[in-house]
Symmetry: C2
Amino acid sequence: MKLSRRAALRLLGAGAAATLIPKPARGRVLRQGAGTRTTDIVIVGAGFAGLTAARALRAGGHKVVVLDARDRVGGRVKPGKLAGATVDLGGQWVGEKQTRLRALLKEYGIATTPQYATGRSLVEINGRILSGPGEDVSLGAAGDAALKVALSRIRALVSEVPLETPWTAPRAREWDAVTMAEWIERQTGNRDARTMLRMMVEGLYTAEPSQVSLLFFLSYVKSGGSLEELWGTEGGAQAYVVPGSMHQLAGRIGAELFDQLVLGSPVTALAQDASGVTVTSAAGSWRAGRVIVTIPLPLTARLLYEPALPPRRDALAQRSPMGSVIKYWVAYREPFWRRRGLSGEVSSDRPPTDGFYDGSPPDASVGRLVGFIEAESALALTGRPMEERRRLVVARIAELLGPEGADPIDYVDNDWPAEAWTRGCYGAFMGPGTLTTLGPALCEPFGRIHWAGTETSPVWSGYIEGAIASGERAAAEVMARPA
Amino acid sequence: MKLSRRAALRLLGAGAAATLIPKPARGRVLRQGAGTRTTDIVIVGAGFAGLTAARALRAGGHKVVVLDARDRVGGRVKPGKLAGATVDLGGQWVGEKQTRLRALLKEYGIATTPQYATGRSLVEINGRILSGPGEDVSLGAAGDAALKVALSRIRALVSEVPLETPWTAPRAREWDAVTMAEWIERQTGNRDARTMLRMMVEGLYTAEPSQVSLLFFLSYVKSGGSLEELWGTEGGAQAYVVPGSMHQLAGRIGAELFDQLVLGSPVTALAQDASGVTVTSAAGSWRAGRVIVTIPLPLTARLLYEPALPPRRDALAQRSPMGSVIKYWVAYREPFWRRRGLSGEVSSDRPPTDGFYDGSPPDASVGRLVGFIEAESALALTGRPMEERRRLVVARIAELLGPEGADPIDYVDNDWPAEAWTRGCYGAFMGPGTLTTLGPALCEPFGRIHWAGTETSPVWSGYIEGAIASGERAAAEVMARPA
């Protein structure tokens, strides 16, 4: 559907609080456009990659049309309601070094606040519950020492990985033949250190360590700086939150696109020839000089391409499944854990509550926890009724933080593997033999079709920051070519 | 397009020799049907799974329509021309114990002949070329002993895997956390035995050992009986060939479908409700009581489903990429290797000619070799000009079989990863953590949609026999339910 500016502002939640958007009509042809419309560049997907590509292209004087299958912008950044407030059911954190995202937030005047991290955090591991100040939870002398050695080994390996072309690392083939499960087992015999490393892999990739290639892991860590930064709150990738919801930023950028944004219009086919590309969507067809495809990597192969997608790009998409995560929010009358000196930050090796944080509003008028059901646990619970997950999550919170945890005032979650237009989160991961064999196909333009999306970014791959970087890169790529 | 019986017989190659079929119009809407037609069951895909499902359903008195994206039947069984003769560019062999396929060939009066295996076979391994009678090539005493121990270990593990539900094996989780590369390394320090085992994994799955889960490997071996049978010619999976081409069998079954077969009509969407399913294809729409989807597992997620595909089935498709293989045929004036006492059967650890066989016609009026570029080598050469592969293959044949190998009279290959409607061959494989987590989603019907295709078969998964078994199973499943 095409939106008036007024309708756009309403639907996209361009105000301070994002509004909930009606469910998209999935895969159904809404209506055929009356003839093919023309534009300079069509962008497939109105997540942060698509939105920032559109911004950059418009700034460069180009006409764009942004198509999205959903009835909202934001992609993997999605608003939801919890106890009357808007919360982010998708991407929400702002990292200390995520300069692009921080600049955008500043430009739109959207405030951030540090992630709450006061008090003791908990680590549940191998049957014990450990605690420590901030993120400094000790595994005990032997565990800490073993973990330190492994982390310093990761730092050393990461330093050997070229940021833009990880497949050219001197030992790329060796590292790409090994899974993280294997590698962790070889590093240390210490059980807690092993479990902690496994938890970090699961938390970052929402996949099992046995499914992730060491080379992919290293390149992903490289893209975010260091494992400590990726894992961390203060100074790290979870440093800040947006009290008014991250989604409002997507809404604000989307609203600027006016009628150049077409929602509820899944793209089904891209046919290119010597003079341009014809884009077929549920809302009709567009003819453009170039197209930027920003949807999640494995979904890119689900469109019909004419001529057919190059086989190496298709094979890469086949070998890059989305990770699996269900993000939940639980609301309480107050952040009761704070009274106990707890930060609300918990990492656990007991499913399904693999990790959660304090997500209360700055005034602490209500207590909120925000967490993740990850990897295998998410695949076990995807497609099940939300009530079933609520029971499991709430019971675990009560065990971990105290009996008040059993009495929430609200619960909401988002089952990302069940979302037809994302099919997992946070991003795509790669098992052994993929990056070395097919990595160069990731960003290589296919004629007039260019690739964006967080998976294509050498910096902050898997994060909002990576999506922004990829959108800006793809826009620059398009502008550098003849129309 | 709809075909008259006469046109069907011509196009499908129902005669003794299959004809070459024009290239399909990929992904292009041929024409919209005038309104929605009705039938009892729609079958998506006219490979062996779809064809045998259609046969069984018609025998049960049901009306069927079979839709295929290509302009030919056969799916991964495909005819080609080499030096004027029809050869199989896809599936071609008949295994000793493949009872369904043998019965079908007998029913249609199509002759088979044993795979030529007279003389010494070669194994090129770790810089040496070894030879031996038939398939009995010795790696030397130490290598043979190490290989024997590993093969007997595989037999023991396979015996613990339940055929229909490999994820319920007592040690399923342990085996599904390990790659074949890891497992092989643990079995033996003998270099030749390790390489031989790696070659077997690559040859069977057309994937690297680092990409294949041990549990998936064991379940696949179980589905074909034993590793020795899968690998073997006499008494094994490569026991017989069809001189007139395997594709003619597909053509004959397809021809019986008359106008119930619609070619050149990619299916794009399946929308089901309480009373039936609407199937949208490039040749128009059909309304049916049930649908059987027989296309390769990873491609099943590329259709638009309404309601959306259950997340676990989608996640399974995302985690089951197609193996990678390019099949080649080389013709010579005569089978010159036979004069040297060679069988023409070669296994090699030097890419790109990972393995080939004597594919000469029974009268040896011309010499033919048929072989495979596998896994990483196939991904390196997919999408390249055929001439480039021809040069590489011919040069290797000359090195292995003698200088006459440098002087072929014809060459043809099929780049399976580049085929838009298959995107790899022979079948889908699974890395760690897939079968245990998502295996039960493989065959579970999704409302009125049932799954077939060789990947869904517990017997002979990855083979024509498995496709037939899956088609028959799906047809029985449909007939056992209320319309």
